[in-house]
């Protein structure tokens, strides 16, 4: 049994960055001091949302799509704020690594940065991570995808997409 844990990301990040020619000291935290996504992490989670929810986001009006994405990212912030400090710390470390060019390349295989990557590229990268033989990559896939999915579909704005009428009213 391979021992795999996000707790060991600290060590993993050092190795990954050494390979990619970077330095751990240059990484910026993925979460801001107040717990919200950093601007770079927000770009990352936006790219993940565009890939994972491709076909489910408002397609016609760009403004509607942007509004839905912004609401989703704000809701992610709110959810992360409810996590205990150690979990926020691990997530911050992960997002920090994935928003550095070396970490992104090594762990996701994406050559362009998150803001510039196409939906198809991010989907291909997530798909490859989900089937990777490396536990670390599968962990990262699930961390990004599952958190995004839970927040997206728990939001009332998504209910009509799945035909859920919302909870039964109690008079």
């Amino acid at each position: 049994m391979k021992r795999r844990s996000l707790l060991k990301l600290g060590i993993a990040s050092g190795v990954v960055l050494a390979v990619a020619g970077g330095s751990l000291a240059l990484l910026k935290p993925g979460l801001l001091a107040d717990g919200r996504l950093s601007p770079a992490a927000r770009q990352l989670m936006r790219a993940v949302a565009l890939a994972v929810f491709d076909g489910l986001l408002p397609a016609e009006a760009a403004a509607a799509r942007e509004a839905r994405l912004a609401a989703h990212l704000d809701q992610l912030d709110a959810n992360i704020a409810g996590f205990p400090p150690h979990l926020r710390g691990e997530l911050s470390q992960l997002l920090s690594l994935l928003t550095s060019s070396g970490g992104r390349l090594a762990l996701t295989g994406l050559t362009s940065d998150w803001a510039a990557a196409s939906v198809a590229d991010v989907q291909a990268s997530l798909q490859a991570m989900s089937l990777s033989s490396l536990g670390l990559k599968q962990q990262i896939y699930h961390a990004l995808r599952d958190l995004s999915s839970l927040v997206f579909f728990s939001n009332a704005a998504s209910w009509q997409l799945v035909g859920y009428p919302g909870p039964r009213e109690i008079p």
């Binding site: 491709d54 409810g82 996590f83 400090p85 989900s130 799945v162 909870p167």
Partner: protein, 548 residues
């Protein structure tokens, strides 16, 4: 404003002693007869019985006090507010999400209200292997009966929802028994929101039953208060250090100390052994935190021709134990079949996929049925469970490796569920596995599942049943606590929760926790006060109690 009366608000208005969070400042120190860590299944039963014996009780709960007027049946609220680690608890390698309550009432506030007596074969195994003669089926019967009377546990007589009907219909077609579940409900509205906190107080959780009884008898409840450390002096606990916390678990003020004659740890598996590990309690046989079990759970979704609307109606109504009994208890792993509620966040996340796959799932969502298979771990050398470890900040994490033995069970459970779903008339079926597809026939699905690689991560596995880690046994070589819950090495410390199970049980654990806690707490009340108490009779009169 809802028409539902909130019994917690009423109790607070009557003058319940609730401190912490928004309910009033925590003390700088507190002395009582018995302090109970946790407020879930084991803690609640213990609190009521000890309070009825006239003991001065303090209950320490890390989570918040939320009640029916807070329960809006919204996934967006519930997971973050009512579950451990904001709903984000996972095993160490992140391969299994673990759903466990963290609020007053513990997991009983958010469980799906399935109430099973411990299967007889499990109790027999405990007697044979762990010397727990007190836990034989005959010996346990009166405890089950007492708890069932207290918590209104009875067979669910309402028609099962369409999701549960899929399980029943398919199983019957294959000649497999799929009986009706017993539930701990009173006047259930059949909303289907059990996992999000019952908004009508129908579910007879600890939140609306035993905890209120204890509070009415004068117990003190401290919420958003983490039991940080038990102080050991010789072979006695001399105090419990408590840390006030914010909703997210971060520190919210200075630590304080509770002293008591006796200490009952009932914070649930994972958390209870972690508290004892943080406290450096004696652990001469290296058993603490080990053999922690999860009923690793796999799922299969089906698109039915009829509308299923699996978000509505009692989430658990029908089950099958057929595959627990097709092989010896210590042979290839057995599994219990049940259903899961089909709420958008929970279901769309756990069924996996992105892009096109999610679009297709969204379209068929109202016709989606979800079956789950719960693997009975703990009875075979290759199903030894997980080990609780402490992170640098003292918080626990469960290291639970998923091995080939469990994955073989996952594959067999997928096959059973898929066959049942097709027998029930499914148009297509897809087991929760990253590489599975929508299969159009049982034959096609069977071939595909037999060829799929079963590995951690790509096989979707989760858990909502955490058990073990402080096993009870007739000898200290096999157990952390004695059969009556008393710690083997520490004199005034007991454990009364699911962490005392020496194996998993092969059924939803709440009723087993209630019954074991009732047995243990009744004995503890007798030892401390020489009084006989019951869940189904009133408290010892105050005058008689004060004379104790």
């Amino acid at each position: 404003m809802s028409s539902i009366v909130d019994p917690i608000k009423e109790g607070l208005a009557r003058g319940w002693k609730v401190l912490g969070g928004k309910y009033g400042p925590l003390p700088t120190s507190l002395d009582c007869d018995v302090v109970i860590v946790g407020s879930g299944a084991g803690a609640g039963i213990t609190a009521e019985l000890l309070a009825k014996a006239g003991l001065k009780i303090a209950i320490v709960e890390e989570g918040p006090l939320k009640s029916s007027s807070d329960f809006r049946q919204l996934e967006a609220d519930a997971y973050a507010q009512l579950y451990q680690e904001g709903g984000g608890r996972k095993t160490a390698d992140q391969a299994m999400p673990v759903l466990q309550g963290r609020c007053v009432g513990g997991s009983t506030t958010v469980n799906w209200a399935g109430a099973f007596r411990t299967p007889e074969e499990t109790l027999n195994y405990w007697v044979d292997i762990y010397g727990l003669k007190e836990c034989g089926a005959e010996a346990m019967k009166p405890w089950f009966e007492q708890v069932e009377a207290r918590l209104n546990i009875s067979e669910w007589l309402t028609d099962p929802n369409a999701n549960n009907s899929v399980l029943r219909r398919g199983a019957l077609k294959l000649g497999i028994k799929a009986p009706t579940i017993h539930r701990n409900v009173k006047g259930c509205w059949n909303l289907g929101s059990c996992g999000l906190g019952c908004p009508t107080n129908a579910k007879q959780s600890m939140l609306v039953t035993t905890i209120p009884t204890a509070l009415d008898l004068g117990a003190t409840l401290m919420v958003q208060t983490r039991a940080d450390k038990l102080e050991l002096k010789g072979n006695q606990i001399s105090g419990l250090l408590c840390q006030p916390v914010h909703a997210d678990g971060s520190h919210a003020g200075p630590a304080f100390r509770i002293t008591a004659k006796h200490y009952v740890v009932a914070g649930g598996a994972i958390n209870s052994p972690a508290l004892m590990m943080r406290s450096g309690l004696p652990n001469p046989n290296d058993l603490l935190g080990r053999r922690t079990f999860l009923h690793p759970t796999v799922a299969s979704s089906a698109v039915m021709p009829e509308p299923v609307q699996g978000w509505a109606g009692a989430p658990l109504a029908v089950f099958s134990d057929h595959f627990l009994r097709t092989q010896p208890i210590d042979g290839a792993i057995g599994y219990k079949l049940e259903t899961a509620p089909v709420h958008p966040g929970f279901a769309m996340t756990n069924l996996g996929g992105m892009g096109r796959t999610l679009v297709d799932k969204a379209k068929t969502f109202p016709h989606t049925s979800i079956l789950i298979g719960l693997l009975r771990d703990g009875f075979h050398p290759e199903a030894g469970g997980g080990v609780v470890e402490l992170k640098s900040d003292g918080s626990p994490v469960l290291d639970y490796p998923i091995n080939g033995y469990l994955l073989d069970g996952a594959r067999r459970a997928h096959l059973s569920m898929v066959e049942i779903q097709f027998a029930a008339g499914a148009k297509s079926v897809r087991p929760a596995h990253e590489q599975a597809q929508d299969y159009q026939s049982w034959h096609q699905a069977r071939e595909a599942i037999l060829a799929l690689p079963y590995e951690p991560y790509i096989t979707t596995i989760g858990s909502a049943h955490v058990m073990g880690g402080c096993a009870m046994a007739a000898t200290p070589a096999q157990g952390v606590v004695q059969p009556d819950g008393q710690h083997w090495q520490v004199a005034n410390l007991s454990v009364h929760d699911g962490s005392v199970f020496p194996t998993s049980i092969g059924a939803n654990p709440q009723l087993t926790v209630y019954a074991q806690a009732a047995r243990m707490a009744t004995g503890l009340a007798k030892r401390l006060t020489e009084r006989d108490v019951r869940l189904d009779s009133p408290a010892v009169p105050a005058s008689a109690a004060s004379a104790a």
